[in-house]
Amino acid sequence: MFTEEALDIISINFWNILIALCNLLIMFFVLRKVFYNPVKKVMDERKNDIDKQYENARNTQKEADAAKTLWQEKCDNAENEAQKIIDAAKEKAQKQSDGIILDAKENADALIRSANASIEIERKKASADIKSEIADVSAAIAEKVLGREINEEDHKDLIDSFIDEIEADNDK
């Protein structure tokens, strides 16, 4: 089977060209089936995975940002609200204390007024008592001085005017 023959350095043979052509085409299909498609599939799968993960990460970041701003707003609102509540409470307390003080003042004024009134009454009563006492005494003195009996009823007007004059003098 083996011969010692060799081809010339350039020898064209149609069938050998055809064989080489078929070899290259076979290699093309074999490499596509065995090498390129599996590797490409794996690479594409991985690329899709990575893209998906990036997408997920982006979405999560967005959600987190939204939640953050929401909480920030809520925190700010809460502060404002607390301030409002405190202010309202302060106002209420102020009003209440003002009311209480006003009531107390009114009460005190009323008390003072009633006390003054009762004092006045007492004073009037006392002065009336004194008046009648003085009238009695002065009538007795006058009886002794005049030597006759003085009818208290007759001289009442005179005595009263006298006492009033004394009072006016006292008041000055």
Binding site: N16, L24, M27, L31, V34, Y36, M43
Partner: protein, 304 residues
């Protein structure tokens, strides 16, 4: 790395043997069938089998055997690299596989555009076949790229793709592409069309052939020089070709390793450029839009 299951390792060994055993077979074939040579002998592939047939007869040579070796090697490596591939990489080889895929994809995307992404495995096939075939010289067996028939076959495959993409714009687009930029220039376009596979074939073939010829010349030259310089030494010392140690190996680093990879890259680059220049993307888009509009119109008429 996690500890692998024994089944995984057995499949690994199987795939690696698909890649390695053909290489050993090729080396054995070379050793057992190569007659002893003396002096400079530059010839083509050794013939293993010959049968009379139409169109010059079927000739099976080292080229065909070694092409098969290279293909099996690529297949084994592809299987090995993609074995145990998963979404979350847990093998080092997956990085190599993904690196290769993304590199070729980048190359195709840059030179051809996104509409040619289904040609990425084809470019991979050209690159790997050409590079591995040229690098077969490193283990001492005949590189199939040194045979003009191999390269011609590849160039014709590229032409098949070129014409396929040219025809994608319709029969009228196919004819019109030859009439550009002016109708009288059609013969020149035709000549250019025919010249493309010749140019691609001869560029690649010439580079590999010149490399192997220079390699043979240097081997003979260093043997001659060491014979003249050290021939006066007594006994067996005069028989040792001292200059053949190191120098040819160093030069083959360029001619085999670097040039082999470079020619593979250039060939695939030319294939990409020729295919993408044959495809009129705008015309194709227009044609498709028109066809879709027609389909829509037909559908709306049917619904009425």
């Amino acid at each position: 790395m996690t500890k692998r299951k024994p089944g995984f390792i057995i499949v690994d060994i199987l795939y690696l043997s698909i890649a390695i055993l053909p290489l050993l077979f090729g080396m054995a074939l070379k050793i057992f069938t190569n007659p002893a040579e003396s002096g400079i002998s530059i010839h083509g592939a050794r013939i293993f089998f010959k049968a009379p047939f139409i169109l010059g007869g079927i000739v099976i040579t080292e080229t065909q055997i070694n092409s098969l070796v290279a293909m099996l090697f690529i297949l084994g490596m592809a299987l090995f690299l993609t074995h145990g591939i998963s979404k979350i990489p847990n093998t080092k080889r997956q990085f190599i596989a993904e690196w290769a895929v993304s590199k070729v994809e980048g190359l195709v995307g840059e030179n051809m555009g996104q509409s040619f992404m289904n040609l990425v495995p084809f470019i991979m096939a050209i690159l790997s076949l050409s590079a591995v075939s040229s690098l077969l010289t490193l283990i001492g067996i005949y590189p199939p790229t040194c045979d003009v028939n191999t390269i011609a076959g590849w160039a014709l495959t590229v032409i098949l793709f070129i014409e396929y993409y040219r025809f994608k714009c319709g029969p009228w687009g196919f004819i019109k592409s030859f009439l550009e930029p002016l109708p009288p220039l059609a013969p020149l376009n035709l000549i250019g069309e025919v010249a493309t596979p010749f140019a691609m074939t001869l560029r690649h073939f010439g580079n590999v052939l010149s490399g192997s010829i220079i390699g043979a010349l240097i081997a003979a030259f260093t043997a001659y020089v060491s014979k003249t310089v050290f021939g006066a030494l007594p006994g067996i010392l005069s028989e040792i070709p001292f200059f053949q140690i190191g120098i040819p190996a160093f030069l083959s680093l360029y001619f085999d390793l670097f040039s082999g990879c470079l020619q593979a890259f250039i060939f695939s680059m030319l294939a990409m450029l020729n295919i993408s220049s044959a495809f009129d993307a705008d015309g194709f888009e227009k044609r498709r839009a028109k066809r879709e509009a027609k389909l829509k119109l037909a559908a709306s008429q049917n619904s009425k």
